[in-house]
């Protein structure tokens, strides 16, 4: 017996494959900017888009893409305007989105059950044309997220440096927002709008446990996202569970499994770090009184004395004193 004998199962697995690849690809850049919850926000706004589609009788996917992209652009504008109330403005946008969606769905005479298929996904009911739309959008997202990864990495990591490198920072920021919006709507049918953010962020958090580099994190997250999506759909077919929730729980299970490995790796890295003599081989008297211009040894990264940032310089705690480099000798601070 095989899952693949059912057409709806093949469509579901294809949808899961594309979602699993695309969501963590964009999610990596969101996590890098510490905007992990942005996908969640866009998901909330897209609810209004779905409802508009139901109201006007057009494809909810199309209206969701449009509204999500508009929402993402507005969020990016709020973020870059640098207002202190930015997070409050974002919250207004989120809840406005979901309340508007529920209201408009009611106006359209649709039941909550219809909206539920978008909120929590209904991957087993997607049509062939849905699979195509998902495939094309996911392909665009993956090609841009991977192909432009040097540029997007630099812009997300250090905006000022990116500007001086001649990169169009505003364009790349907008691109990430739009890609996130497109991904949310791609994942809408698979895991649902309320859970899409999990598929964008959790695989990234998981791969971070074991990776040191950005590209390694990006590709590992895409692999983990695909594994969770395909696994979740397969498991849910056997135990008759909600595919969307199964996918997210599976992604979380992978994180729980990877976390102890990450703890162990970080511990090993700390122990392997160069760690020089703990005891101070030089008696205190030698350092200050006799040769004021040459300290018995040079304080530095590896001297073993705790370093304390102090204004514009670093002090080293030395036998209960704080030594600061000053020209060719050390001062007490």
């Amino acid at each position: 017996m095989s899952l693949l004998t059912y057409d709806f199962m093949i469509r579901a697995l294809l949808g899961a494959l594309f979602t699993g690849l695309a969501a963590p690809a964009v999610g990596t850049y969101l996590v890098q900017r510490r905007l992990a919850l942005m996908g969640d926000g866009i998901g909330h706004i897209a609810v209004t888009g779905v409802a508009l589609g139901l109201l006007t009788g057009t494809s909810p996917t199309v209206t969701a893409v449009i509204v999500a992209v508009i929402g993402a652009v507005v969020m990016e504008a709020i973020r870059t305007s640098g207002r202190t109330s930015g997070d409050v403005a974002l919250a207004l946008l989120f809840y406005g989105g979901i309340a508007g969606g529920v209201l408009i769905t009611g106006l359209a005479g649709q039941s909550a059950a219809t909206l539920n298929t978008y909120l929590f996904g209904s991957i087993t009911t997607i049509s062939t044309s849905d699979v195509w739309v998902t495939a094309v959008l996911a392909l665009v997202v993956v090609v841009l997220a991977v192909g432009l990864s040097p540029q997007l990495f630099t812009v997300s990591q250090d905006q000022e440096f990116a500007r001086v490198a001649g990169l169009n920072v505003r364009f790349y920021n907008l691109l990430v927002s739009v890609l996130a919006a497109v991904t949310v709507t791609v994942a809408m049918r698979t895991v649902g709008l309320l859970l899409v953010s999990a598929l964008m962020v959790v695989p990234v958090a998981t791969s971070q446990q074991v990776t040191r580099g950005f590209r390694a994190t990006l590709f590992a997250a895409m692999a983990l996202g695909t594994l969770a999506s395909l696994g979740g759909v397969s498991v849910s077919a056997f135990v008759d569970a909600q595919p969307g929730a199964t996918i997210v729980l599976l992604a979380l299970a992978l994180f729980v499994a990877a976390y102890p490995v990450g703890v162990w790796l970080r511990r090993r890295e700390r122990l392997a770090a160069p760690f020089t003599e703990q005891g101070d081989p030089f008696p205190l008297a030698d350092e200050h009184t006799e040769v004021p211009e040459t300290h018995a040894h040079e304080h530095g990264e590896a001297c073993g004395h705790p370093a304390v940032p102090h204004g514009d310089h670093v002090d080293y705690v030395h036998d209960g004193h704080r030594h600061a480099v000053h020209g060719g000798h050390y001062d007490e601070h």
Partner: protein
């Protein structure tokens, strides 16, 4: 091509309606190593950020390599080491990956890095002495090593003009010396360097011109006096001479010899 590398004429900058820079006239010639000194809030950081177009001018003109800033596109000729505490972000990145982003000004989107790019990255990593750390995550490095990563990133682009904003702040002596050596290599290649600093330390011997900022104006522009390069007064030095604020007891920042001459602070 006798144009100065950096020209600021009658430059002024306002941030939030408050004048931060006023009446700045500055020309940096090719091959010069200029140190911008001054107290906190004197505008020294704003000055270099203005030169790079990160802060808009409210009047006056900035030119890079003879081209007005708004028409300037040869960003691969400019390297920038921003002022920052760390080089880490939300996702891990290796030293090599961060340094490689210094080549972006010379690369096109969607085109994989070429051999020359990779060689420049490796050379820059070597120049700051982080060869054996190249595959490590930036977040696992010490503050001084992270600063060296940022310097290597700027060096990787082989810039004609290198601008550094407090590159040695909070960096221990070992890293400062490694950094001074890396800069000396660049100077030998004929690069122009503008750096913001609190104290010059090991960089002293490299600097051939000092610009001291005070209250948004250039207070001194000329050869570095000995006092600039060595923060120690020659005689009568004791180890407890930290100047302290009369009211708070906090140590006062000694930013330039001009400050030292002043008895009171506003």
């Amino acid at each position: 091509m006798n144009d100065p590398v950096v020209t600021v004429s009658d430059g002024a900058v306002e941030l939030g309606g408050r004048p931060v820079l006023r009446g700045i006239d500055l020309a940096v010639r090719r091959g010069e190593v200029v140190a911008v000194l001054g107290a906190n809030g004197s505008g020294k950081s704003t000055l270099v950020r203005t030169v790079l177009g990160l802060v808009p001018t409210s009047r006056g003109e900035v030119r890079l390599f003879g081209t007005p800033l708004e028409d300037f596109h040869d960003w691969h000729r400019v390297g920038f080491v921003p002022q920052r505490v760390g080089a880490a972000s939300g996702v891990p990145a290796t030293v090599r990956e961060v340094v490689a982003s210094g080549r972006l000004s010379r690369r096109r989107p969607f085109v994989p890095s070429k051999r020359g790019d990779r060689e420049a990255v490796e050379a820059a990593i070597d120049a700051v002495g982080l060869r054996e750390k190249a595959r490590d995550g930036v977040a696992t490095l010490s503050g001084g090593q992270q600063q060296r990563v940022l310097i290597a990133r700027a060096l990787a682009g082989a810039p004609d003009l290198l601008v550094l904003d407090e590159p040695t702040a909070g960096v221990d002596v070992h890293s400062q010396q490694a950094f001074a050596d890396a800069l000396a290599t660049l100077v030998a290649r004929g690069a122009t360097i503008v750096l913001v600093a609190h104290e010059l330390g090991p960089l002293g011997p490299l600097v051939d011109r000092a610009v001291v900022m005070r209250d948004g104006r250039v207070a001194y522009d000329g050869p570095p006096i000995d006092a600039f390069t060595d923060a120690d007064p020659p005689h009568g030095h004791d180890h407890h001479h930290v100047e302290r604020d009369l009211h708070t007891g906090d140590p006062l920042p000694v930013a330039s010899p001009l400050d030292r001459a002043r008895e009171e602070r506003p």
